[in-house]
């Protein structure tokens, strides 16, 4: 049913509403209110045109109503609310990437010890040595000696701030044995909140019974000594 007066009235009221995202709701509410009144008048025997005119007169002055509604639907508050809604969504997406991905990697990446060929293992030791460099905790977990003379050191490291990030751990220190040999390590690490690493030392002396890891850099120091199963690999 065409109701041009009602449409004009609504259009005028809405022209005072500065926050555009509220206009549709205001229009729906006001329109249903006017239609109710029109129905009332029609039930009393008025024709549509007269009922529409009376209903609009009952509602009041479009300008006054528009200005009042505009005050209630504060545009500044509305825009701030709308902008912060968008920002919340953006930050949730950003955090899913920056927090979610490292957590995912941490929980689902396997230990590099699983990559060692089991048939090549001469001996394997579980160790539990922990050291701390500033906020970084380094936890040495396993030693695996292989029949090709390769000694593998397994360790994990993480930041005590949990979410903390920063430069990756460059070195765990100088690696030597009790016989005075120094070794260069090939290293590989996973990513994630808790990083799992392997350091592999080629041609590790079969006669050495202690592995020594010494860190001494920029006034930070630690020394880890690990007794090896020399009897079992000394043929």
């Amino acid at each position: 049913m065409l109701m041009p007066k009602k449409e004009r009235f609504l259009e005028e009221v809405l022209s005072y509403i500065k926050f555009p995202f509220d206009r549709e709701n205001i229009k729906t509410e006001l329109e249903s209110h006017i239609v109710e009144k029109i129905d009332d008048y029609m039930e009393q025997g008025y024709d549509v045109e007269k009922a529409e005119e009376l209903a609009i007169n009952d509602i009041g002055d479009a300008k006054e109503i528009g200005m009042e509604l505009n005050k209630e639907h504060n545009a500044l508050l509305g825009w701030l609310w709308k902008i912060t809604n968008g920002m919340v969504v953006l930050f949730i997406i950003g955090n899913l990437f920056f927090v979610g991905v490292p957590f995912f990697i941490t929980f689902f990446s396997s230990s590099p010890i699983n990559d060692i060929d089991k048939s090549s293992i001469v001996y394997q030791m579980d160790i539990d040595e922990q050291v701390k460099l500033d906020n970084t905790v380094i936890h040495f977990t396993n030693i695996v000696y292989q029949d090709n003379g390769e000694l593998n050191i397994f360790f994990e490291h993480y930041d005590t701030k949990l979410w903390g990030t920063g430069w990756s751990l460059g070195t765990i220190g100088e690696i030597t044995d009790n016989l005075g040999n120094t070794y260069r390590a090939r290293s590989a690490c996973s990513a994630g909140i808790k990083t799992k690493c392997i350091h592999s030392l080629d041609n590790f002396s079969k006669k050495a019974d202690t592995l020594i890891i010494s860190y001494d850099s920029y006034n930070r120091k630690y020394k880890v000594e690990i007794s090896l199963q020399v009897g079992e690999n000394d043929e």
């Binding site: 504060n74 508050l77 509305g78 701030l80 609310w81 912060t84 809604n85 920002m87 919340v88 930050f91 949730i92 950003g94 955090n95 920056f98 927090v99 490292p102 460099l133 500033d134 906020n135 970084t136 930041d159 701030k161 979410w163 903390g164 990030t165 920063g166 430069w167 460059g170 850099s217 920029y218 006034n219 930070r220």
Partner: protein, 176 residues
């Protein structure tokens, strides 16, 4: 819920999300926080910040830590945030030299910084490959810092450094 309350809720949620984002993304609201975390996470310092200087894309933070001298770079990210740059650790000062220094070039940004071990040195002069001479007489405690940018058509590499006393006598000289 009123719109005011919804806005307050959004602000609280945003604060929490921003906190997590900044911590996990290695981004900071101020350059010194980026510098301090950069040093700590590489297990160096904390250095005493002696001078901060702007460069295109960030800031140089000149500092001293025990026997080391450093000039960390922190980068400006997304217009108002700060992140790690490069070169956070320092060189060990050789006190037997009247002037000890190092230099580096990263993305067209050159820096030469060092320390004056001989009190007689009152002026540091460096010469670049294109013949340009840079001079510094006002030091930051006993530290100095030269910064410059290169262009592709000239040789902007560092060639020579000299330290002069108050009478313009050369106390220290080194070629690169």
């Amino acid at each position: 819920m009123s719109r005011g309350k919804k806005l307050l809720r959004n602000m609280i949620v945003l604060g929490l999300l921003l906190y997590v984002f900044l911590n996990r993304s290695s981004l900071y609201l101020n350059p010194l926080s980026a510098h301090e975390d950069s040093e700590r996470s590489i297990h160096y310092g904390p250095s005493e910040v002696v001078h901060i200087e702007n460069f295109e894309g960030g800031k140089y933070v000149l500092g001293k830590y025990d026997k080391w001298v450093s000039c960390n770079m922190v980068s400006k990210v997304f217009f108002f945030l700060w992140g790690f740059g490069s070169d956070p650790t320092g060189f060990e000062n050789d006190q037997t030299k009247a002037v000890d220094y190092t230099w580096a070039a990263i993305n067209h940004n050159f820096k030469l910084y060092g320390i004056i071990n001989d009190d007689r040195v009152k002026k540091i002069e460096i010469t670049l490959g294109n013949g340009k001479v840079l001079i510094q007489t006002d030091f930051y405690d006993d530290l100095f810092l030269f910064t410059w940018r290169d262009t592709l058509d000239e040789d902007w590499n560092f060639k020579n450094i000299r330290g002069y006393d108050a009478n313009n006598n050369i106390i220290f000289e080194e070629e690169y």
